[in-house]
Amino acid sequence: ATSSANAGAPGVSDSTIKLGMLVDLSGAFATSGKTSNTASQFAVDEINAAGGVCGRKIELVVRDHGYDVQKAVTAYDEVAPQVLGFLNVYGSAITSALRDKISSNDVLVGLTAFAPTLLGDPHLLVVGATYDIQAINSVDWMVREGMLKKGDTLGHIYLQGEIGENSLKGSTFATEKLGLKLAGQQIKPTDADLTSQVNAMKAAGAKAILLDSTAKQTAAVASAAQAAGLDVPIMGTVATFSTSLLSTAAAPALIKRYHRVSGVGLLSADTPAVKALADKWKAKFGAQQPESGGAVVLAYLSTHLWAKIISGTCGDLTRKGLLAARAKVTSFSIDGLGPALDLSDPAQPTSRASQIHRPDKGVYAGMKLVEDFKVSDLAKEYQVKAG
């Protein structure tokens, strides 16, 4: 094989810096993949228009893995020698499969996931609060809002795997600290009918439901709760919402009961940076709103974050240099898009702040702000267990 021949700085030439993206463009998560891709490209265009970083333009090398591990591994092998780092590797199964390669290549990789178990590895970049912390912040918020009182039962419906299990750590911590009871129900990403889980929640006397699921399942839970006569608030984490939910039969239930916790900002936020982003999106897609405003924001934010990191190592544009530069970023934020991010300790979340959102058909991307970035006391106290 002839690949990894030119040692030194893969992906860097005198005029360009290449960054890889391994996303799903044709599989079940193609919408997310395309969204991140577009938003990252927006950011790259801005950066390049402003002269690039370290005097070089950023170039994205995008590969589709269709959420297929085998394709992802071959695509990684193909792309890795040509890029300085990976702006985005999408999908937890994919990330898991690539972890060893990532460390042995010593390459920095941005993720679209918030698992605390991904922390501790300096090669992986998790943007914003992790699942456990978001769960804590949301329980804290529900208690502050009077939705839950000491002694109440919180029902937690969580996904099998990375998201759910980490989120469960947070809810367990919060309920213990706040004197609540916890009733858990695990679901699979493919479960479509969640009636039995909701019924179990009802039986357990849940006063509120914390939800980690796919967006479709959010609607399923909301409808099932309505069907079962379980009239309680539903608090979802990041991935639990997509804009099109508001056109399903579940919309009334969602508008009535549903809130979401998020580690990044809203596309409907009223700051210049966000407005510019939203305008770009509108210019490109017209009336068609993004399925997930959060994904747009995250990808856009991360891309700018990467530019920031790279600019910290212009003298040493190597993978090692990049990893070192990462730790130099201690406070990065774009107004309205995210909280201040501190990348200095790979073992700690880059932020512990969350926003609370709720659906609103009248707002761009279907979500409006309820409470701005806030780190709850519980979240401050909580010790993240890095993977």
Binding site: S196, Q197, A215, K216, A227, S242, T248, A249
Partner: protein
């Protein structure tokens, strides 16, 4: 007690929908010996059409259109693809359906993505209260309509000439041809039925309290398999019984997840398969399936 009853009724309804999915699959398999790996795609395509057409045509017309499209897809599969393969080569046909499934899935994935399309059924969002039971209207409709549907189908298969023709050609193709039965017509009917039943089941599955049509419905279709086997493949009554058992087991396991923690998290589906394996060890052709006999 009430809760248990609610769980049971929900389980039964789910099981009946499983039975319907399986039935389409089984009829195709019995009549043509082809394992239709695209069955789940048929289901999804059918309901997708319903969901897309529904804002324009209204639910009833859209449902008919969805059924028609899935039926036609079945017909086209049989006529345009399978009919061109040597009729004894069931393996080749099965793999053909895999290829077809790849194409259908790719297209449906492209169109659906992460969306959830509302089905717009008139019973969506409605809940009925029976005594102290709270049940979605869909569940009530399912519990009534599916047995009627299956009963009708059973009658069709056992009492009519068409059913006899079907069973005869299943038993011996050459003998059937020599009795004047049109084999191609029988298999085409089976494929059409397969598409229709899948779509009918899909409409049930996508109805409230499910949020609507989404990609994950394909994997629900797979969950129907243990039901088919437990009941016994060639028995309609078995399909119902198997569906019931699986539906109820899944619902019960999910309802008692905490006390079943020793099985690991999320054991619902797995338990259905375990039940299936136990049943098979006890009765290799399922609970109601006819024993394969061979005499020499």
């Amino acid at each position: 007690m009430i809760r248990l009853l609610e769980l049971l009724v929900n389980g039964v309804s789910l099981g009946l929908l499983y039975a319907l999915i399986t039935l389409g699959f089984v009829i195709v398999f019995k009549a043509t010996r082809v394992v239709n790996f695209a069955h789940a795609s048929f289901l999804l395509l059918g309901v997708y059409v319903v969901a897309v057409a529904q804002p324009l045509l209204g639910f009833a017309a859209a449902a008919l259109l969805g059924l028609a499209v899935a039926g036609l897809l079945g017909l086209a599969t049989e006529r345009l693809l399978l009919a061109r393969v040597d009729r004894h080569n069931h393996h080749a046909m099965a793999i053909l359906t895999i290829g077809l499934n790849v194409v259908l899935t790719a297209e449906l994935t492209r169109r659906l993505g992460e969306q959830v399309l509302p089905l717009g059924a008139p019973w969506d969002g409605h809940v009925v209260h029976l005594g102290s039971l709270t049940l979605p209207l869909t569940v009530v409709i399912t519990v009534v309509a599916v047995p009627v549907l299956i009963g009708g189908l059973t009658a069709l298969l056992t009492l009519t000439g068409w059913g006899l023709a079907m069973r005869a050609s299943i038993a011996d193709a050459e003998g059937a041809a020599l009795a004047g039965i049109r084999l191609r017509r029988v298999s085409a009917t089976a494929w059409v039925l397969g598409g229709l039943l899948a779509t009918a089941a899909g409409i049930g599955l996508a109805s409230f309290p499910s949020p609507g049509v989404s990609l994950s419905m394909e994997s629900v279709a797979i969950a129907a398999f243990p039901a088919a086997i437990i009941g016994g493949f060639d028995s309609l009554g078995g399909a119902i019984a198997g569906g019931l058992i699986v539906g109820v087991v899944q619902v019960l396991v999910a309802g008692h997840q905490d006390s079943l923690a020793f099985l690991g998290l999320g054991a619902g589906d797995v338990v259905a398969y375990l039940v299936m394996i136990v049943v098979l060890l006890w009765r290799p052709s399922g609970l109601f399936g006819s024993k394969e006999f061979s005499r020499v």
